[in-house]
């Protein structure tokens, strides 16, 4: 562990060991500006934000967003960053929940030029850097694709050839977020496989899976445990717990499985 007791930004300590990354400071709220708000599927939008003092992020991390009403009432939510660290922009994927308090505002009211208070990046545990290598097993449910998309995009931007398999569960074909981009990425890179499962309805002639992620599906799809993949699972809590338990049941090392539960209904 670094032995530095005082830190001068940009300086290294007496032993030459790298000091704790960044200037130690407590996480503070910042105001970002909405650059664009772009619909993707019927219920989702990508918000692209410009944040003046942004120091970058790692693929998988999230931000906390805070809304404040004129009388001071506040609501906070967490959103994963879907953009790669290399992109220089923060993209948040927001799914509109019918009974939500924050998501309807973010998807229906917020527009380019508005300010959005946020802090981050947060959560270094659920993150992947290309230099960690693979194989990478990514399991996503619905809007849980967001942090995993950041990993897929980062992998490409970093020029990594680590094998990756993304198993992505959605309600229907129309609701597959980032669908076109994922299809294009998979087409151009044989080390990237995208496997889809649709749980409520599938188009005619659908050849893919048509049920919730379960152990049998993972036995077919996942890298075998001997290959010791790094697994990241993200989505609604029931999906995440089923999938993580199934992976352990197949013999995967729990220490190589990281989960991000979104709660009962999603992000």
């Amino acid at each position: 562990m670094a032995t530095t007791t005082t830190v001068t930004p940009g300086a290294s300590n007496a032993t030459g060991a790298t000091r704790m990354a960044g200037t130690p400071r407590r996480l503070a709220w910042q105001i970002g500006e909405v650059a664009e708000s772009i619909p993707d599927t019927p219920r989702t939008k990508s918000l692209f934000l410009e944040v003046p003092d942004w120091n970058g992020h790692r693929a998988g991390q999230h931000v906390d967003v805070r809304l404040t009403a004129e009388d001071g009432y506040q609501a906070e939510r967490s959103y994963s960053i879907a953009s790669a660290p290399e992109s220089g922009r923060i993209e948040l994927l927001v799914e509109r929940l019918d009974d939500g308090e924050v998501s309807p505002y973010l998807t229906e009211e917020l527009r380019a030029g508005d300010g959005l208070e946020l802090r981050g990046p947060i959560g270094g545990w659920f993150a992947w850097d290309a230099n960690e290598g693979g194989p990478l097993l990514l399991l996503a449910g619905g809007s849980g694709i967001a942090p995993l998309m950041a990993m897929v995009r980062h992998r490409k931007a970093a020029g990594s050839d680590a094998p990756v398999r993304l198993l992505y569960s959605s309600r229907s074909y129309e609701e597959v977020i980032f669908r076109e981009e994922l299809e294009a990425l998979a087409a151009e890179d044989e080390a990237l496989e995208v496997i889809q499962t649709l749980t409520r309805s599938a188009p005619e002639g659908w050849q893919g899976y048509d049920r919730r992620i379960d152990q049998a599906m993972l036995k077919d799809v996942a890298f075998p445990p001997q290959e010791r993949p790094l697994a990241f699972v993200c989505g609604p809590t029931p999906l995440v717990e089923t999938a993580a338990t199934a992976l352990v049941g197949l013999g995967h090392d729990p220490a190589r499985i990281k989960t991000e539960r979104f709660g009962p209904t999603g992000g």
Partner: protein, 91 residues
């Protein structure tokens, strides 16, 4: 299945208001059952009343945080559930 259960990583935001190091990757030893693991891998129960991080092995309380936003801003932090924290920087 418990609806309110999240990953320890979800508590990273409020903990980052207090700690200046990355706590989700620190290893915590549970005072109740002795098992140890990264804080991010534990379980978090987060609501406006407070945040409770519990041991993924035994559900024992590891960390509790309460934040008061109005009047003075104050935090109350309970780390009694942690035998030790092993903090190291990423290589």
């Amino acid at each position: 299945m418990d609806e309110q259960r999240l990953d320890g990583n979800a508590a990273a935001g409020v903990l980052a208001e207090i700690f200046t190091f990355e706590i989700t990757t620190a290893r915590a030893a549970c005072v109740h059952c002795g098992s140890s693991g990264e804080v991010g891998a534990q379980l978090a129960y987060i609501s406006e009343i407070g945040t409770v991080v519990r041991c993924a092995s035994c559900d024992g309380v590891l960390i509790r945080v309460v934040r008061q936003d109005e009047g003075p801003q104050r935090y109350w932090l309970d780390l009694k559930g942690i035998e030790y924290l092993q903090i190291q920087e990423r290589p």
